[in-house]
């Protein structure tokens, strides 16, 4: 008899617990309703890509020396470097350069290894095309600069993640003069430089001290 009553009590406790958790869950969903949507309404609003964003590759024809390093470091030897040897000047003469962005994985190896910095990565990511062959960019197409999100008048640029001020998650109603959390990369570099020079000074001091003591 007692065992049965215990079972009934346990069962009731379970049911009450389930109801409690259900109400708690409803509280969470209800609370979410008063938060602002996180939606970025894409063609009208766009997130600003980060400085190191690896988008479509930009290429400067005049800087290129046709060394083909980019081809060698590419995982699938993608860049096509079309050059001829000029017998008279004994120099390579570049005729065409192309990268097929239908096959590129945007790893950035070519940009990393280019000896003359003629390759660089842009913030362009809208590469949709009706025909995959139109993604095979030649040196003219590669030389075009993308429209920046911040300079496009039809787009409202939005900051994201680390580019937002501290504790703020929503970029929508944020004045542009509010700075991001932490320091800018240039500020960090300056600080590091300062520190380094100070350390050097210290070490030279120690060195001279030691030399002095030896001399004595």
């Amino acid at each position: 008899m007692l065992g049965f009553l215990q079972k009934v009590a346990d069962y009731t406790q379970d049911a009450v617990g389930a109801a409690k958790y259900l109400v708690q869950g409803l509280g969470v969903t209800f609370d979410h309703m008063r938060r602002r949507p996180v939606t970025v309404q894409y063609p009208y609003e766009k997130l600003i890509p980060s400085e190191r964003y690896r988008g479509r590759i930009h290429y400067e024809f005049d800087k290129c020396i046709a060394c083909e390093v980019c081809v060698r470091v590419c995982p699938i030897n993608l860049p096509v470097v079309d050059w001829v040897m000029n017998k008279e000047t004994k120099k390579k003469e570049l005729r065409n350069y192309s990268i097929d962005f239908g096959a590129c994985i945007f790893c950035g190896n070519c940009v990393e290894y280019c000896p003359t910095n003629c390759l660089s990565m842009t913030e362009e990511y809208e590469l949709a095309a009706f025909d995959r062959h139109s993604l095979n960019f030649d040196n003219v197409a590669l030389g075009r600069l993308p429209t920046s999100v911040t300079s496009d008048p039809s787009v409202r640029p939005l900051r994201e993640l680390a580019y937002l001020p501290e504790t703020i998650m929503d970029p929508h109603e944020l004045p542009s003069n509010q700075k991001r959390a932490g320091q800018l990369p240039s500020q960090i570099v300056n600080e590091l430089k300062k520190k380094k020079s100070q350390e050097n000074k210290n070490s030279t001091d120690i060195l001279t001290n030691k030399l002095d003591s030896i001399n004595k």
């Binding site: 049911a15 259900l22 869950g25 409803l26 969470v28 969903t29 209800f30 979410h32 309703m33 938060r35 602002r36 949507p37 996180v38 939606t39 309404q41």
Partner: protein, 372 residues
């Protein structure tokens, strides 16, 4: 108790004054409520679909429909229009007769059930004596339609979905009927008008929810299960069954299922407000209020405002419940089929039986408060 506004009587009287016989007047009256039900049901569905999309979006911190009309209010219309012009497909080797009859058999009982939903003293289509029992009887037709469409689709997902829908509807109808029975016992009548009137003596304090809190919860859970809403949307669980019995449907036949689902949701919410939340009654008693401001209850101004406010009250209560259903949708995970049947047979059925017994004994013990 006064009778309030009787539209039918004034309409037939007006027609008779024009020189027609009472029969002709009645004949002229009949199509009007039918049209009204269809229109109000469809508008109710459009509003519910819009609310569902907007509230779902808000609960997930999205925006939801925005460009079709102001705040996307025309989005359900656009959806309906799209379904209307889509190709009507009957799959190869499907039973075309059953395939067509299925969705109709699902929709018609739901719309018929609107007969008994009162929006005011005389603002309902027909005050039939069996009242709420008619709704329970009609809602038993629905699983036949679901089973029909599932079986005739020539698709294993449809068949499984149809079987699940039938199992679910049948097992949740019993606690639902028992919860209603406890209410009926308290109000000594099956008629929805009587049930509401019996709750309107002292404003919100006399609502049935205070006397039947357990019954209210049972009824709400069962109503969600009958509407196949989350957490009980097993018949159309997309992760397991694609879309259940709707898998093979497209165009207007699919729209019938869609419409039936939402009309059923609105209807269930309306019936909860009628059975437990005092229907068209105000949170404060109208008799008390009119005596407070010193106007007779028979004053036409009071009558008109009371009637229109009564409609607003019913709809408001119903839509609060619809809101709760949508919120529940994004809060609760879907139950498994065994958990569903466990909940129905091992939890709700015994609880509702106990509830019925307790109500009966309370009725004997306190005939004043529990309707002797």
């Amino acid at each position: 108790m006064n009778s309030g506004i009787d539209l039918e009587m004034s309409f037939t009287q007006g027609i008779q004054n024009l020189g027609f016989s009472p029969e002709v007047a009645h004949l002229l009256w009949i199509p009007l409520p039918m049209l009204l039900v269809l229109v109000s049901a469809v508008i109710g569905v459009l509003v519910t679909v819009w609310l569902e999309r907007k509230i779902s979006a808000a609960a997930q911190q999205r925006i939801g429909p925005e460009y079709a009309g102001a705040l996307g209010i025309l989005q359900p219309m656009a959806d309906g229009l799209k379904l209307l012009v889509k190709e009507d497909i009957i799959p190869a080797r499907a039973d075309s007769v059953l395939f067509t009859v299925g969705p109709i058999l699902v929709l018609v009982p739901v719309i018929l059930s609107w007969l008994i939903v009162p929006f005011g003293q005389n603002l309902l289509i027909s005050n039939v004596g069996i009242g709420i029992f008619l709704w329970i009887a009609l809602s038993s037709i629905q699983p036949i339609g679901l089973l029909m469409s599932g079986y005739s689709s020539n698709n294993k997902y449809s068949l499984l979905g149809g079987l699940r829908a039938a199992a679910q509807s049948i097992s949740y109808e019993i606690p639902l009927a028992l919860a209603v029975l406890a209410i009926v016992m308290m109000s000594n009548s099956l008629s929805t008008v009587d049930i509401v009137e019996q709750q309107n003596s002292a404003g919100f304090l006399s609502w049935n929810i205070w006397r039947q809190p357990v019954g209210f919860i049972i009824f709400w859970i069962c109503a969600l299960a009958e509407c196949e809403r989350l957490p009980f949307d097993l018949p159309e669980a997309e992760e397991e069954l694609v879309a259940g019995y709707q898998t093979e449907y497209a165009g207007m036949k699919f729209a019938l299922f869609y419409l039936a689902g939402y009309i059923n949701l609105v209807l269930s919410a309306l019936l909860v407000s009628v059975l437990y939340l005092g229907g068209w009654g105000f949170p404060i008693s109208i008799d008390w209020f009119s005596s407070l401001i010193g106007i007779s209850i028979d004053n036409p101004l009071i009558q008109i405002t009371a009637a229109s406010l009564g409609i607003v009250m019913t709809v408001l209560k119903a839509y609060l419940l619809v809101f709760l259903a949508i919120l529940l949708r994004w809060t609760t995970p879907r139950v498994r089929i065994d958990q569903l049947l466990d909940l129905g047979w091992k939890f709700l059925l015994p609880i509702s039986l106990v509830n019925l017994l307790v109500t009966a004994s309370l009725k004997l013990a306190f005939p004043m408060t529990f309707g002797g």
